[in-house]
């Protein structure tokens, strides 16, 4: 009680820490699968570095990798790119004349050739990986790199054929249709951009809001943030 008013008191630090620890322990006891998975995950992170390749495994792996010709794939990819550009340039909005049809056939042919070469590359890469094994350092490192790629690059999300982290031919593959977006950062940036604008009155235009005296302090807060964020955004682009 303070001056006749009821004042809600915050718990002291020790009580708060105890509360957190007790709640965590209770949660762990009640949700055994979740806590078990978490512990297993921690153990995997700490000790799972993958089995080291033996000399023979290493030699087999490298021999198979060496048979993958990336130059052929690059040439086929360039041929397909040129053929597709020629087709795209010759076609109308809703029509395709005889020249366009010819170009389309050429582009389709180049695409089939490229797909064949890529499939061959994938197959050889798969053989090389099979010789190393999934629990080898190659497999573990690839899975780890794949995870950190998603995690670090601004929570990158890839949709489409999930062939991430495959080296060589697969990495240069342009057909892997990736829809990437940096979700959290971008979303936070837009939130920060509009946080000042939200205080704008219903019947106020942006210009009025920017120059109005009553909201001068809001504009002063919003403008530097907006400017800094836009500059940063433009630089990234």
């Amino acid at each position: 009680m303070q001056n006749g008013r009821q004042v809600a008191r915050l718990p002291d630090t020790t009580t708060a820490i105890n509360l957190v620890v007790n709640s965590t322990a209770k949660f762990a006891k009640n949700h055994k699968i979740i806590s078990g998975s978490y512990l297993l995950g921690i153990l995997v992170l700490l000790f799972g570095s993958g089995a080291q390749l033996t000399y023979d495994q290493q030699r087999t792996y490298e021999n198979i990798i060496r048979t993958i010709d990336t130059d052929i794939e690059f040439e086929a990819s360039s041929r397909y790119g040129n053929a597709y550009n020629a087709y795209y340039g010759s076609k109308g909005w809703f029509s395709c004349d005889s020249l366009c049809t010819r170009m389309k056939k050429k582009a389709d042919e180049a695409k089939r050739e490229l797909d064949g070469i890529r499939a061959e590359g994938f197959s050889r890469m798969s053989d090389a990986k099979a010789s190393a094994g999934i629990f080898s350092e190659v497999g573990v490192n690839e899975a780890r790199d794949s995870f950190w790629e998603y995690f670090n690059k601004g929570k990158k999300v890839s949709l489409g054929p999930a062939m991430e982290g495959v080296e060589g031919v697969c990495a240069s593959s342009s057909t892997l249709t990736k829809t990437t977006f940096q979700f959290a950062k971008r979303q936070s940036m837009w939130d920060a951009l509009f946080v000042g604008m939200r205080s704008m009155g219903r019947n106020e235009s942006t210009g009025e809001y920017m120059v109005s005296e009553k909201d001068e302090h809001h504009a002063c807060e919003a403008l530097p943030i907006t400017f800094v964020l836009l500059t940063r955004f433009a630089r990234r682009r």
């Binding site: 999934i134 899975a143 054929p161 999930a162 991430e164 495959v166 979700f183 979303q187 939130d191 946080v195």
Partner: protein
Amino acid sequence: MKMLMNVLMNFTLGLVMCFFVFVFSLWALIKSYQPDTLTAVAFFICAACGAFATVATFLVGMFGTAGGAVFVVAKVAEQNMIQNGGNGDNMRRGEQRRHLHYQ
């Protein structure tokens, strides 16, 4: 505070989404190694648990830091309020009186 909540929610959504996308992409990665079913399932469970542990640790750390910071700020504010005693009320009453006088 609202901004902090926004950032926390965005990171939570981003991380949870990236975890699920990783788990879905994991099977294709495993298949490229041509393992037998048992090994594939074992690797899948280990990798998914590892990813879950990383994401959970990150999120717990993030929320813990944010919650801790808010708690400390609230605690300091509470201490100040207790130290000032009824000053705040007296000031408010004074302002009210002034206001009534001008009316």
